[in-house]
Amino acid sequence: MTKTFKASELTVGQELPPLDLKTTATLVAGGAMASRDYTPVHHDRDAAVAQGLPDMFMNILTTQGLCSRYVTDWAGIDAIVTRVRTKLGGPNMPGDVLKLRGKVVARADRSVDVEVSGNNAWGNHVTATFTLTLPA
């Protein structure tokens, strides 16, 4: 990992490098298992189809986990996530490419807010605002 940013080194509007994540059934199911979420629609395609959905879909915890590592990979090892506010959109399913984009939207003495958007071909899957505490 890169060195950790100080809040004073960042500017509002600054963008994070983009990250395109290919979504596979393994990622969706693996994320669900790793978060101990055995709700069938997150690992069982038939269960999702029975509910009128095209396929199994990613659970919220996996989406947040992916967004979180996207942000901290950029911010650095000494960044501490203190808050995440999430607006949930459409589903993210196997075959979708989840396009993560981020930018700094607020800055204080030792903290920044980073807004992450995750879009796929269905539209917006998630918009998550991370509040990070950074080294002085």
Binding site: G30, D37, G65, R69, V81, W122
Partner: protein, 333 residues
């Protein structure tokens, strides 16, 4: 429901506010490295703060800590969840069943907020209690009329020390019969014959008598056609019925060389429609043949586009097979 029934229904609904959904739940396992590693594998998380004790020591974390967004995972029920929620097991399920029984069958998560007091240490036992915090008045939403339900969860460890909190908002709504029928109309069938929603794609241009031939040529011949008057030879774009030089309605077309220059451009960030890649670099191209057309510039960062820059044609094909002429920066050589 008549007015009195509605009042009784809402009174019963609002009586859920403030109720804990059930007894506080303690996670089955304390915060532990195997579950952290499994999480990190799935998330592509390589932060040594979660994985490498030696490296974590020299950081603000001081030791291995759990990834912050894993907080709720420590109290998830796991396997038991696969049995589903048909039988009301707690107050939250009872509330959802109560609404579903009254026609509010749709459910949609809309927002979450998580606050992490601090990162969790190995060995900590996490307990959580969830309360039904808010139920909105009936709201008209894009999905149908419904109620927003907010639950709040507090997390603490075996010493009673606060670890964080979470709020989760869902919309419970009545899917309008009309909307359901309309959605049915745009659905396809998957391999097993089940109805599947169609993936949104680019909005297709209207194709009529005057311009249908143009799109057909793009699709079949992989060219950018330019309409030409069959009498005086004047070129015109976009396609239209009559030559503005001689008034003739006879026409044929030529294939453009594909070379041109950016006349002007704009970068579209919002609004974002499903089926498109944003940002879109929208350009007006001066074609070598002298005509001017609107198109999209691809393979070019928005900050790199310039008026006058040479561009070349490519025929872009969407996932659904639709073809459309785009441009990219000309390869110099």
């Amino acid at each position: 429901m008549n007015e009195n029934e509605k009042k009784a229904f809402e009174a019963q609904l609002k009586s859920f506010i403030g109720r804990p959904i059930g007894p506080a739940m303690t996670g089955r396992d304390p915060v532990n490295e195997p579950m952290i590693r499994q999480w990190c594998d799935a998330m592509g998380e390589t932060n040594p703060a979660h994985l490498d004790a030696a490296k974590a020591k020299g950081t603000v974390h001081g030791e291995i800590k759990a990834p912050p967004t894993m907080l709720q995972a420590w109290v998830m029920e796991g396997w038991a969840m696969h049995e589903g929620y048909d039988e009301p097991k707690n107050e939250q399920h009872r509330l959802h069943k109560f609404l579903a029984d009254h026609g509010y069958t749709g459910v949609l998560g809309t927002n979450t907020e998580e606050n992490y007091t601090r990162y969790l240490r190995l060995g900590e036992k996490v307990t959580a209690e969830t309360v039904i915090a808010e139920i909105s008045d009936e709201k008209a939403t894009g999905r149908g009329i419904g109620y927003f339900i907010t639950t709040r969860t507090k997390f603490w460890n075996e010493q009673g020390e606060e670890l964080g909190s979470m709020s989760f908002r869902v919309l419970r709504y009545k899917p309008p019969a009309e909307a359901a029928a309309a959605a049915g109309g745009s659905q396809g069938k998957d391999a097993k014959g089940a109805a599947v929603a169609a993936k949104p794609t680019r909005i297709k241009p209207p194709m009529g008598q005057d311009n249908g031939w143009w799109w057909e040529k793009v699709a079949k011949e992989n060219v950018l056609p330019i309409q030409r008057c069959a009498d005086c030879g004047k070129l015109r774009h976009p396609p239209r019925p009559m030559c503005d030089a001689c008034g003739s309605q006879k026409f044929d077309s030529i294939a453009a060389s594909g070379r041109g220059k950016v006349h002007t451009f704009t970068v579209i960030h919002y609004p974002q429609f499903p089926g498109y890649d944003y940002p879109i670099v929208s350009i007006i191209v001066d074609l070598e043949e002298g005509e001017r057309m609107a198109s999209t510039l691809v393979e070019c960062k928005p900050e790199a586009v310039q008026i006058g820059m040479p561009v070349e044609l490519l025929i872009h094909q969407d996932e659904d097979g639709f073809k459309i002429p785009f441009f990219r920066p000309a390869k110099r050589g």
